[in-house]
């Protein structure tokens, strides 16, 4: 199989996920004490930027199978929004509030969007083979 060249979407996606996981661990490890949000915000922003870079890099791939990508990613998005919602519900039930809740919620948004992107990309990259 002569494989087409693609940007390192999976690798960048894993790095992005690792960063929000690290931010979540940092915040969770300090509960219920007040914890400086700076490191967690920095990790979240870097993770979100990597997600945007991933999507932009896909737009630069000639002939990328966007239809196949969308067919798969939209259902994956639905599934991961539900799981993210359940985790968010658990946070809210435990009276997590303030900046930590905002950071963790946005981290869940990155998770719920980036994982479907990775699934859609894995399918779409082989769409024409």
């Amino acid at each position: 199989m002569s494989e087409r060249r693609f940007p390192p979407v999976t690798e960048v996606g894993m790095l992005s996920l690792a960063l929000i996981v690290a931010g979540g661990i940092y915040l969770s490890a300090h509960l219920p004490q007040h914890v400086p949000l700076g490191p967690a915000i920095a990790l979240l922003i870097t993770s979100a930027v990597l997600m945007v870079i991933n999507l932009l890099s896909l737009t630069r791939v000639p002939g990328f199978a966007w239809q196949r990508f969308a067919d798969v990613a939209k259902w994956a998005l639905l599934a991961y929004v539900i799981t993210a919602g359940l985790i968010e519900y658990s946070f809210l039930q435990n009276h997590l509030r303030g900046g930590a809740l905002v950071v963790l919620t946005l981290s869940l948004v990155v998770y719920a969007v980036h994982v479907p992107v990775l699934i859609g990309f894995t399918v779409a990259r082989y769409a024409d083979e």
Binding site: T10, L17, H30, L31, V72, S90, N94, F121, Y126
Partner: protein
């Protein structure tokens, strides 16, 4: 796993013809019912905030997660690799659609119920004496999550979509199945660390 000729076997396919792949659903619709019921139970049990029911959910689903990872990575994976080509195709089209539903469900329930349980027991508080072990469990779960979400789950879906094509590409299937089995093995090894941490936390 040597899945290189998963679609290229002579037993049920004419030479150079499309492989014989049984009909299957990538996401089994009937399976969505127990998944929905499980999530409803999770919501109710978290809202009730009772120790036994939270412990039940966390232990049962956490055990299922651990056992599945170990079984897939170290038992079923090597078996799949040694099956005949038609048997391998049949096994793949029956197993992987179920995994699409089972794995995200047990992971979500384990983590959400575990977080709530940790709040009830006080183990997630930084004042808890074994807090270092709890943080270690976050790290182990975090690594498993990144591997599973970034590699395993996309490979699972990718294999199924490829097998749905009129002419599945055996090289693509081999590549993605290898990724699926190897990452299952990695998370299986990480689950051994989970055993150590959770038994340590449970015994104080």
């Amino acid at each position: 796993m040597a899945a290189a000729d998963v679609t290229a076997g002579p037993a049920e396919a004419p030479p150079h013809g499309p492989p014989a792949v049984p009909d299957f659903e990538i996401v089994p619709r009937k399976g969505l019912i127990p998944v929905a019921l499980t999530f409803i139970a999770l919501i109710v049990i978290i809202a009730l905030d009772k120790l036994w029911s939270l412990e039940f959910l966390h232990v049962v689903f956490g055990s299922a997660w651990t056992i599945l990872d170990l079984f897939l990575g170290f038992a079923l994976g090597p078996i799949l690799g040694s099956l005949s080509v038609p048997a391998r195709i049949e096994m793949t089209t029956k197993l992987l659609p179920k995994m699409v539903l089972i794995m995200p469900t047990i992971v979500t329930v384990t983590l959400a119920a575990g977080w709530q349980l940790g709040n009830v027991l006080g183990t997630v508080q930084s004042s808890y004496p074994n807090h270092g072990w709890i943080v270690a469990s976050y790290i182990v779960v975090g690594i498993m999550a990144v591997v599973a979400l970034g590699l395993l789950e996309p490979a699972n879906i990718g294999v199924l979509v490829e097998l749905k094509k009129p002419r599945p590409n055996p090289v693509v299937i081999e590549k993605l199945m290898k990724r699926f089995i190897y990452t299952a093995a990695v998370t299986g090894v990480m689950q051994i660390a989970t055993f150590v941490i959770m038994t340590k936390v449970a015994t104080g």
